[in-house]
């Protein structure tokens, strides 16, 4: 799946929340989206999940998607089980299969005993479990988690971690935001990092960096003493190409005046 110069703003006169994001989101990868509060993480996740349409650019090749919002405040006139059955059908599952998977996920998330309560009377954590279950029901090719772990108990958090790894292992793409840096730490393949001005840097995650060998890795360094640093980098074993981009030079003579 691919994002091509994707931008999003909420209205013609509003500032761009996300701007010019171009990235390849390959299948079978775990992708962390990071950035400060208000930097546009949730907005990008909504566009990637297909919840809102991009104001500019396009998203292509999106597989079947499950989306977990950051808060799921019940509020619907259903019991948990009824809601999940409806959503399973919306996801395109047949009645029989829908019932089977709803039972299975309620069991896994430790919510089976509460599933026949009305959504309106459920606790925050239990509502969050319903939101997670609906996203995982169809075994989606793209799973988008917007701080989905908040409010979950220990068992459900571990279960969600396991579910994420299952999706990735099955060739799905998983995008997630979480303020806990320890969440799935060291396992992500890629990071989309917000720069605070609506732009996004696409970085390799720790998992591929730890791999013994890769075809090509490009690292950018920022320094004011180029000659020294390049000399040292060139001396490192395994570096093939060095390219330098220089801005705002001062001639030595001018600097001393």
């Amino acid at each position: 799946m691919r994002l091509e110069t994707v931008g999003k703003r909420y209205g013609m006169r509003q500032p761009w929340v996300v701007r010019g994001v171009t990235a390849e989101l390959p299948a079978g990868r775990l992708i962390r989206v990071s950035g400060r509060n208000g930097s546009g993480k949730s907005t990008l996740l909504r566009v990637v999940a297909g919840v809102s349409l991009p104001s500019a650019g396009r998203v292509t090749g999106r597989p079947h998607t499950g989306y977990v919002p950051e808060r799921f405040p019940g509020g619907l006139p259903f019991s948990g089980r009824e809601y999940l059955l409806h959503l399973a059908r919306v996801h395109g599952l047949r009645a029989e299969e829908a019932r089977r998977r709803v039972g299975q996920w309620l069991e896994r998330l430790g919510a089976a005993g509460y599933a026949d309560q009305s959504l309106r009377s459920m606790s925050k954590g239990m509502c969050q479990k319903m939101a997670i279950a609906q996203a995982l029901l169809p075994s989606p090719g793209l799973l988008v988690l917007d701080e989905a772990w908040t409010g979950l108990d220990q068992v459900a958090r571990a279960e969600l971690d396991a579910a994420v790894e299952e999706r990735v292992a099955a060739g799905g793409t998983v995008l997630f935001v979480d303020h806990d840096q320890a969440r799935l730490a060291g396992r992500e393949d890629m990071r989309l990092s917000f720069d605070g001005a609506g732009g996004v840097a696409v970085l390799a995650g720790p998992a591929p960096l730890a791999a013994p060998q890769a075809e090509r890795v490009t690292i950018s360094l920022e320094t004011t003493r180029a000659a020294d640093v390049i000399g040292q980098v060139r001396a490192i074993d395994g570096v093939r190409v060095i390219s330098a981009n220089v801005e705002g030079t001062h001639r030595p003579g001018a600097a001393e005046l």
Binding site: F72, P73, L76, P77, A131, Q134
Partner: protein, 130 residues
């Protein structure tokens, strides 16, 4: 799309947001039954009153589903189809109301025609086929 329509219809029914529009329409129909002199006039009135009632129903429908729940459905089925389903359901409910009102108008006009009176019998002769 069928699953989406079923989901949205279930929200409409279970949230009881149809109750007030239905009562409002019932009252408006009662006013019409008491005041119209011909079937054409009664049908005019029920048709015109359908507009605000369906608007009321649609508004109720659009706010019945919390944003987060809507987002989940959008991811599953696409935002356009999700929105379409939310609009088709009150439209369908409006169509049902309209049919019920037309049947009611015709029946009351027939009942009036059986009672003696030249005005109502002439109106009855111009009954459109139902």
């Amino acid at each position: 799309m069928t699953a989406l329509l079923r989901y949205q219809s279930a929200i409409l029914l279970r949230s009881h947001r149809w109750v007030f529009p239905l009562i409002a329409y019932g009252l408006l129909m009662a006013v019409s039954a008491a005041g119209s002199t011909s079937l054409a006039e009664a049908l005019d009135w029920s048709g015109a009153m359908l507009v605000p009632v369906v608007a009321f129903l649609t508004r109720g429908m659009l706010t019945a589903e919390p944003d987060a729940a809507r987002a989940c459905v959008c991811a599953a089925a696409g935002p356009v189809r999700a929105q379409l389903a939310t609009l088709i359901v009150p439209l369908g409910a409006g169509a049902l109301l309209g049919i019920a009102a037309a049947v009611f108008d015709v029946l009351t006009a027939e009942a009036a025609a059986k009672a003696p009176g030249p005005a109502s019998s002439s109106a009855c002769a111009k009954l459109p086929p139902k």
